[in-house]
């Protein structure tokens, strides 16, 4: 049962001016970052994570949550106004959003995006508030073999779902495994340190994150700016706005996308873009005018935006319950949680119930703040994307360096950040996804520790997994996912060959 007393204490913890201001600042920062094409929510969070280390937990973490919520919504602004999704999650909004802008209805599209995003996010956060404790309690009965099997399952799902072809997902996953082995092994012995003292503590997690998600963007955007001047122009009619009739018309699409997005969020590795496209697809399928969806329909915007925002809250459940980040944004939050002494896992709500409920209630407040701020400023929001890149890119460059230095006061970490920035840039060039690398980097130590514990429990016999039905189930499902992903391109090719012959 949820302890309502602890929940009420959590409400009092978060309901103070500093935490609310922090949430507001985070939401504004997130909208700004998300609305600039090229800058991602993950990048924004990665830059600001080191700052939160020096703040109390109920100021630092709400700030990051504000960035998360604001950033995912902010991504829809350039998608609607200039047909360029600010984040991957907003890609499904482009078709209808931009078509509405071309019809002079940009403000309606933005307002529908605000409404659908906030309502879906709010509903899914309520779900998390009441179920997070139960899920973490369920995790308490899991032992080392089950946790090992869940991690294997999560890594495979993430690597197979984030790439078009299996080998690229596996390459990213394995690079994450390899990078995390630098430092000390589970027995306390040095491993892959190459006699470099700075490597003895391993590669800094924050430097790896900032390098991959922020510095690689700085490189890419600088190279683009050198090549050609990027001119952004957005049109916005101040007299255009949505009506209650529009909201009523879009409510079924919002409700369906919210339910679907919430379930997608719980499964590690699928994330907002998939939920957004599924939300868009269901909006088209169930619409009374399906021929208009994709060509400038508010239903399409509502379906896509509700889908991607409903993922936000539930995607944190695997993190809270098992310490397994379901996506890269959760992996950034994991860094902030650990730095604040909040170790995600089965005991999180038992040991830090008040703070955790305060954070969950903060997530709900963030939606209300986002709704108010975005609605009040929807007239002016378009102007965000007109901030010239020559202010943003240099500032982000400096912040990536300070951010990676700040964690350990180490210039070596800055070098690691540069290296991973280059790796991230090359991974983008070769279409290799970054999510499996980051999540494998974070989880390898836990996975290795739990495998070792399992082997000790089974007295050296790996067949012991056969006697643990939950662990065995996850391993079998993982094997099935691997085989399916491996055979999918071959089956597709032979099917295409048959079609061509026919």
């Amino acid at each position: 049962m949820v302890d309502y007393g602890v929940m009420a204490e959590g409400l009092f913890y978060i309901f103070n001016i500093k935490s609310l201001l922090s949430l507001t600042g985070g939401v504004l920062t997130g909208i700004l970052i998300g609305s600039i094409p090229g800058l991602t929510t993950t990048m924004g969070m990665a830059i600001f994570v080191p700052l939160t280390f020096f703040m109390p937990p109920l100021i630092g973490i709400p700030f990051l949550i504000g960035i998360y919520k604001g950033g995912i919504f902010g991504g829809s602004i350039p998608a609607i106004l200039i047909s360029t999704p600010g984040t991957g999650a907003a890609a499904a909004t482009v078709a209808d959003g931009y078509a509405l802008t071309q019809k002079g209805k940009a403000r309606s599209a933005i307002q529908m995006s605000i409404f659908a995003s906030c309502l879906a996010d709010f509903s899914s956060d309520i779900l998390v508030l009441f179920f997070a404790y139960q899920v973490t309690k369920l995790a308490l009965v899991f032992g080392a073999p089950e946790i090992f099997a869940i991690i294997v399952f999560s890594l495979l799902v993430i690597s197979t779902s984030s790439a078009d072809n299996l080998p690229k997902g596996l390459i990213s996953l394995t690079l994450g495994l390899v990078c995390s082995m630098v430092g000390v092994d589970t027995g306390g012995r040095w491993r892959f340190t190459f006699d470099i003292p700075d490597l003895s503590a391993g590669l800094s997690y924050i430097s790896v994150l900032i390098g991959l998600f922020a510095f690689s963007v700085v490189i890419d955007e600088t190279l683009k700016s050198i090549k050609e001047k990027i001119v952004v122009q957005a049109k916005l009619d101040p007299n255009d706005k949505i009506t209650w009739k529009d909201i009523k018309h879009c409510m079924p699409a919002i409700a369906r996308s919210t339910i679907m997005g919430s379930f997608i969020g719980i499964v590690p590795g699928i994330g907002q873009p998939v939920a957004a496209f599924l939300g868009f697809a269901q909006a088209k399928r169930f619409s009374k005018t399906p021929e208009l969806v994709g060509k400038g329909s508010l239903e399409g915007v509502a379906g896509a935006e509700a889908g991607n925002n409903a993922v936000n809250g539930p995607s944190l459940l695997p993190l809270f319950a098992f310490g397994i980040p379901g996506d890269v944004i959760s992996s950034v939050l994991l860094g902030a949680f650990l730095a604040q002494g909040l170790r995600p896992g089965p005991r999180l709500f038992i040991d830090h119930g008040k703070i955790m409920y305060a954070i969950l209630i903060g997530m709900i407040f963030a939606n209300l703040i986002l709704f108010a701020l975005a609605n009040l400023s929807s007239k002016y929001i378009a102007k965000i994307i007109t901030i010239p890149k020559h202010f943003i890119i240099p500032t982000v460059f400096v912040l990536t360096i300070v951010g990676s230095f700040a964690v350990n006061n180490s210039w070596f970490d800055v070098g690691v950040m540069f290296l991973f920035g280059l790796i991230g840039y090359l991974m983008n060039k070769f279409d290799v996804p970054m999510a499996p690398l980051v999540i494998a980097f974070i989880l390898t130590h836990t996975m290795e520790t739990n495998l070792i514990r399992s082997i000790i429990i089974f007295k050296g016999d790996l067949a012991g997994f056969l006697g643990r039905p939950v662990a065995l189930g996850f391993i079998l499902v993982s094997a099935a996912i691997f085989l399916f992903s491996l055979l999918k391109p071959i089956v597709n090719r032979s099917r295409k060959g048959k079609q061509n012959k026919a």
């Binding site: 020096f54 072809n165 299996l166 080998p167 690229k168 596996l170 390459i171 996953l173 394995t174 690079l175 495994l177 390899v178 082995m181 092994d185 589970t186 027995g187 012995r189 491993r191 892959f192 340190t193 190459f194 700085v218 490189i219 955007e221 600088t222 190279l223 700016s225 050198i226 090549k227 001047k229 010239p388 890149k389 020559h390 202010f391 240099p394 460059f397 400096v398 912040l399 360096i401 300070v402 230095f405 700040a406 006061n409 210039w411 800055v414 070098g415 540069f418 920035g421 280059l422 070769f430 279409d431 290799v432 290795e448 495998l451 082997i455 000790i456 050296g460 491996l486 391109p489 090719r493």
Partner: protein, 156 residues
């Protein structure tokens, strides 16, 4: 460059890296004789690196096989992997970063930061010198103030 050629280049790079990694394993991991004596060789520090090395090798082989099986697309996809001067510009950006770190040590944080911001603004096509100077100095000082005075991070 076609995606097929891109995948083949990537797979070769991964295979070379995987081989180098596997060769390093015996030299960069420590075996535990106690674990070995108890029949728990599997628990040694080399066990996970061996699995990772094998997985990396497998991924590289899979990618090269799938790329070899794929049909080449038409010429519309034949853009070079790196455009003209892209590599030199890429290294210039990295050199700017390393140069900045060196400059922080040689001068001080606000001066080095203002210089980096100025150079980056010129690179990203800012053209008004007054704006470049005012923004570089103001942003450099603000970042310095926030990190060193508010968060007590020794930026030197």
């Amino acid at each position: 460059m076609t995606s097929k050629r891109k995948d083949i280049i990537l797979s070769i790079a991964i295979l070379v890296f995987a081989l180098a990694f596997i060769i390093c394993i015996p030299y960069q991991t420590v075996e535990d004789p106690i674990l070995g004596a108890r029949g728990y060789d599997i628990l040694n520090g080399a066990f996970f690196p061996k699995i990772s090395g094998a997985l990396l090798l497998l991924s590289g082989v899979l990618l090269v096989v799938l790329a070899a099986m794929a049909k080449s697309k038409d010429d519309t996809e034949r853009k070079p992997l790196f455009e003209k001067n892209e590599v030199s510009r890429l290294f210039f950006i990295l050199a700017l970063g390393f140069g900045y770190v060196k400059l922080v040590h040689l001068t001080n944080y606000p001066i080095a930061t203002a210089l980096l911001l100025g150079v980056m603004m010129v690179l990203t096509r800012a053209r008004n010198w007054l704006v470049i100077i005012v923004y570089s100095v103001a942003a450099g000082l603000t970042i310095y103030y926030v990190f060193s005075r508010v968060f007590y991070i020794p930026l030197h």
